[in-house]
Amino acid sequence: MSEHPTEIKLHQQSHLLEITFDDEACYRLPYEYLRVYSPSAEVRGHGTGQETLQTGKKNVGVVEVLPVGSYALKIVFDDGHDSGLYTWEYLYALGQNQVEWWLQYLDRLAAAGQRREADCEQELTGGCGGGCGHA
């Protein structure tokens, strides 16, 4: 096994998971990034080409984080997704490749014509919908 985390902090306001490893690497991983890169089969499928693009997770929250044996974390998101087991190795890779993988995700979103915002948020930012009439 490679690096082992020493501390995990959940910043619930800023939606960041801060993880420090024993080689002193420290990564701040946004919940949305963790959610769309969940290692669950629901996201990854069962092989290359079977991935399901995750959309509209910009404001996803984390309900709790549970230890799995001594090798991984189970993250329970507030959209009900909880089937991803994030191993130390995977969390380390998520940290190391954060910029690259995030840009790749944004490219895939754009190519699919999808957005980071959930549907209701799109309406709000678009300034339409019942609640925001013209003054």
């Binding site: 020493t6 995990i8 959940l10 799995v68 044996g69 001594s70 090798y71």
Partner: protein, 364 residues
């Protein structure tokens, strides 16, 4: 010539514990050094159970101190053991009443896992440790027969069972809960993992230093659930020297590595066959397989056991070799293996890198 505490410590720095291969001044084993005049007394607290060698060790240390501290009068060394609990994250419980969990596994079936597991458990108990045996083989429980236990466990309150006991071990097995020995458990995976969880957590283990888990062969539901649900201290892999067994044992070992369970070492079973007629010893399954696997994966060969008809007969009849013939050659090997395991487990318990990281939730 007089001497002081520092002299004693310095002297013990030069004496290596044959079990841990470390000096006696190392760690926290040296305690209560009392010097009065020329007389000296001290305590050595070992992190592993070793009742059978306490005397041997104390005379070893006394002799060493006598020659290292000329002028010393009476020297008395009191050796005892206290098993260190496996450190886990605060708030995460290992299992109530259990200090360390040791999984005994193999890739392949029929290599003698259960026989090895029960004899290691009994060997640890013989060294003075409190030991439990959890039979995690739901489809083919062997421990009731091997431990010679009949009958059903008593309940303790609404949700707990008392472990069955024999030969000084506490034991739990699905075999105790089903009616007859030929009743099959015709269950799918989820039922099996739930049963394992209940056997583990709803048994009222009584202050165990070690819980030995006898795993079924393979790398499936049971092995994975165990690795995910509890922080297993370490795993012991049992294999025979045969290529086909080693092939599966390698997979078993890799599985534990993937789920972050430390490998304590490998036990090579059925290393040689000793003819009961003429005593001729032969490597019927090939030789050196276990050793080679250890070299490949940088782990320790804990010991080699022969394919001996007595081991089979004694264990099948409910009195495993360590109890049936405690001073025999085979029992000695089991005890050596058990002591190596205990020493390595004690080292792991002190390694805080293995602790699950702290999880902090902040409103920031």
């Amino acid at each position: 010539m007089s001497f002081n505490e520092a002299d004693v410590q310095a002297a013990l720095k030069n004496l290596i514990d044959p079990n841990t291969k470390k000096d006696f001044a190392n760690g926290k084993s040296l305690k209560n050094i009392v010097i009065s005049g020329n007389d000296l007394s001290l305590d050595i607290l070992l992190g592993y159970p070793a009742q059978s060698v306490w005397k041997e060790l104390s005379s070893l240390i006394e002799t060493h101190l006598k020659s290292a501290l000329p002028g010393a009068g009476k020297i008395s060394v009191n050796v005892s053991s206290k098993v260190v609990p496996h450190a886990v994250q605060q708030g995460v419980k290992l299992v109530d009443g259990v200090k360390n969990i040791i999984a005994v596994a193999s890739g392949k079936g029929g290599v003698g896992k259960s026989t090895t597991a029960v004899n290691i458990a009994l060997a640890l108990a013989a060294e003075g440790a409190r030991v439990g045996m959890l039979d995690a083989d739901i489809y083919g429980p062997s421990q009731p027969t091997m431990l010679g236990i009949d009958g059903q466990p008593e309940t303790d309150g609404a949700n707990f069972m008392k472990p069955m006991t024999n030969h000084g071990l506490q034991a739990m097995s699905i075999g105790f809960l089903i009616g007859t020995s030929d009743t099959p458990m015709i269950w799918r995976g989820p039922m099996v993992t739930q049963a394992l969880d209940q056997l583990l957590r709803q048994t009222r283990w009584d202050n165990l230093d070690y819980l030995i888990v006898d795993l079924p062969p393979g790398t499936g539901d049971i092995q994975l659930s165990l690795a995910q649900q509890v922080p297993v201290t370490g795993a012991v892999i049992v294999t025979t020297p045969q290529d086909i067994a080693l092939l599966d044992a390698r997979k078993g070992l890799k599985m534990f590595e993937k789920v972050g369970v430390k490998i304590v070492g490998i036990v090579e079973n059925m290393s040689t066959h000793i003819c009961s007629q003429c005593g001729h010893e032969e490597h019927i399954f090939g030789s050196g397989g276990g050793g080679k696997m250890c070299a490949d994966y940088n782990t320790e060969l804990l010991g080699n056991l022969p394919l001996d008809i007595h081991i089979r007969e004694q264990t099948d009849s409910g009195t495993p070799t360590v109890v049936a013939d405690p001073d025999g050659k085979v029992a000695k090997t089991y005890k050596q293996i058990a002591r190596r395991i205990a020493v390595k487990i004690a080292e792991m318990a002190q390694n805080h890198n293995a602790v699950f990281p702290k999880i902090v939730v902040q409103n920031t």
